[in-house]
């Protein structure tokens, strides 16, 4: 390029003449920086910088020149700037006035103790806030029980359709696949012991008691829980929640109660569906892999699956639905400020709800096991 920037130096005894040419612009800073670093500003040296031939000077070039001028002067040299065009001179003046400050643009990695403390503080704050939320939800729910005419039936039915009916295809598919997997794995092991018929016990109990409730709850957490957080969070960002409050409408009553209520009704129903299709899927595999006829399978099923185990599985529906709905709504209300927060809290909500479901399931297993159920 013809207009590449340059620096011509000529030295006579104690005077150094530096003639600047070309474009002293942002894109040329690296090479100009190297060129200027070659000048040593020693005690008593007189440096004359001539800028009359400059084609262009922008803040980058001017900043670089002033930075080095300052350094030369600190080392005891005398620096004079000559022949600069009027606009260039003004730019240089401006940059002499601005102090040389560095601001951090590098990502800083915070102290691990600081992070641990921050995390613990956030956790404690979240737990306290969730307690308050739980209290408000309980109060609202009990006031609705006393005044059933105020129960938002229409919203509950809408949420039931959203979280229930629309989840039927995916829950069916997942439950069939789970039944198929359990039956296949079981068949391989049981065949070796000649205890093929016990595939029914294995399948029925694991499906009805554990797999169907867990899988369904996880699917609902991913489908509806995340949607609740995102919906409430977006409403929070758009100031819709504040608008509802000023209109005298309780967001707890119109948003949280219908969602949690709908989940409590719908989750056991979805679990029942998962039981049926999961065991059905296993039944088909049992015939293919072990030669157990549908007749034998169903006959054995009546003995293999005690009513208690089946009911425990169904009862897990409301037990899971309550924390699932409450946590996902709570996370939605925690959103404040920007749209970015909505995504962050939705992620947290899904992680929290799935963890809560699995933790509660583990606790239930221990308690029920000790009770001999």
């Amino acid at each position: 390029m013809q207009d590449s920037p340059s620096l011509h130096l000529s030295r006579s005894q104690s005077t150094l003449r530096a003639v600047l040419k070309g474009r002293w612009c942002m894109e040329n800073i690296p090479s100009l920086h190297r060129a200027l670093e070659g000048i040593e500003g020693e005690e008593g040296l007189e440096i004359v910088v001539k800028g009359g031939d400059l084609e262009a000077l922008d803040t980058g070039g001017a900043y670089l020149l002033m930075k080095h001028t300052r350094q030369w002067m600190e080392r005891g040299a005398r620096v004079t700037l000559r022949d600069f065009r009027e606009d260039h001179r003004r730019l240089l003046d401006l940059l002499t006035q601005t102090p040389e400050v560095r601001v951090c643009t590098r990502p800083v990695s915070p102290n691990p103790f600081y992070q641990l403390g921050r995390w613990a503080h956030a956790l404690a704050r979240d737990i306290l806030a969730f307690m308050a939320f739980l209290g408000e939800a309980t109060l609202t729910a009990s006031s609705l029980l006393l005044k059933p005419s105020r129960v938002p039936w229409q919203e509950i039915l809408y949420e039931m359709e959203e979280a229930g009916s629309k989840a039927i295809p995916i829950v069916t598919l997942v439950a069939i696949l789970a039944g198929v997997v359990i039956a296949y794995q079981g068949a391989l092991q049981l065949k070796r012991f000649g205890a093929s018929i016990f595939i029914v016990d294995l399948l029925a109990i694991s499906m009805a008691r554990e797999m169907a409730p867990l899988l369904t709850a996880i699917m609902v957490a991913g489908r509806s829980g995340s949607a609740y957080t995102a919906q409430i969070g977006t409403m929070k960002v758009n100031e819709e929640i504040d608008a509802l409050r000023t209109l005298g409408i309780s967001p707890m009553e119109t948003l949280v109660i219908p969602k949690v209520g709908a989940l409590i009704v719908v989750l056991p129903l979805l679990i029942l569906l998962a039981d049926l299709v999961g065991i059905g899927g296993g039944m088909v595999i049992s015939r293919q892999a072990l030669g157990i006829t549908f007749h034998d399978f169903i006959f054995r099923l009546q003995e293999a699956l005690p009513l208690g185990s089946f009911l425990i599985g169904i009862a897990k529906g409301p037990i899971f639905a309550l924390p699932l709905g409450l946590i996902s709504c709570f996370r939605g209300f925690q959103v404040k400020g920007s749209a970015e927060e909505v995504g962050r809290y939705t992620t947290m909500s899904v992680v929290n709800t799935i963890f809560a479901v699995i933790a509660i399931d583990a606790i239930l297993s221990v308690i029920l096991g000790n009770m001999g159920l």
Binding site: M26, I29, D58, L91, T98, R102, C104, T105, S338, E340
Partner: protein, 255 residues
């Protein structure tokens, strides 16, 4: 080369979602001027601005920026052009996962190979040019007020010392004092750095205090283009309403 318009729009037609937004727009922006695009809501001002910065493509017609025909630029030229202009979006458009200082450093890291410690100093210079308080440089954008966001975004737009500054409603959402201050900053920067400024605005104060030339868009066409004082005298009900409603007539008739 100096007399050639910096931005030149000819016969521009834009259709969006089956609606014709522009039906043949011609305008030109000269080097070193502050040029305002004005028009009622939905007149396609922001769309026009987005076409000038290659975020949208017009249906027909041509846009030349710094002599390059935007519809025919190669990816390389496109990258170069993008480094020659800075854009201030209406709500700042700051990257929310980076601090203010990192936002300003972003174009410098992307387009240049300047050593890191020089970048840190350049960032502080750009922030002070945009009147952004340096103590706030390491703050995340969502902790800033609207006015501070605009100043931070202006600093980022200035990062590469662009030739053209595109501003989308620079003073919307600012209080009148902050808006006047922002206007002054833009004018000072233009005088100091020789920028060409193209802005979309509704703000009569901005037009009165800093704008050199302006265009009014109406129903997809250019209603009038020229010096604000001439435009204010243009006999069209919308223009008369626009200039004389809020401020009272003495401001404009007295000149």
């Amino acid at each position: 080369m100096m007399d050639e318009p910096v931005v030149e729009v000819k016969g521009l037609v834009t259709r969006l979602g089956g609606k014709t937004i522009h039906r043949g727009i011609d305008l030109s922006v000269k080097r070193g001027e502050i040029y305002a695009i004005v028009g009622g809501s939905g007149s396609g001002k922001t769309v026009l601005l987005r076409e000038m910065i290659m975020l949208l493509e017009p249906h027909q017609g041509s846009i030349r920026v710094l002599g390059h025909l935007l519809s025919q630029v190669t990816p390389r030229e496109g990258k170069w052009l993008r480094s020659r202009w800075g854009v201030l979006f209406q709500f700042g458009g700051l990257i929310s996962s980076l601090t203010v200082a990192q936002n300003v450093a972003l174009p410098l890291l992307e387009f240049t190979s300047i050593p890191r410690e020089l970048i840190d100093e350049l960032v502080s210079i750009k922030l002070s040019l945009a009147n952004f308080p340096l103590d706030w440089a390491c703050v995340m954008p969502n902790e800033l007020s609207g006015g501070m966001k605009k100043r931070a975004a202006l600093a980022r737009a200035l990062a590469l010392d662009p030739e053209i500054l595109f501003l989308d409603e620079p003073t919307s959402g600012l209080d009148p004092v902050a808006a006047a201050h922002f206007d002054r900053t833009i004018k000072e920067l233009r005088d100091l750095l020789g920028l060409t400024v193209v802005l979309v605005t509704h703000d009569l104060d901005t037009i009165e205090s800093i704008v050199d030339r302006m265009v009014i868009l109406m129903e997809g066409e250019v209603l009038v283009e020229g010096d604000p004082r001439e435009v204010a005298r243009f006999p069209h009900p919308w223009v008369q309403d626009y200039f004389h409603r809020r401020k009272g007539e003495r401001d404009w008739r007295g000149r």
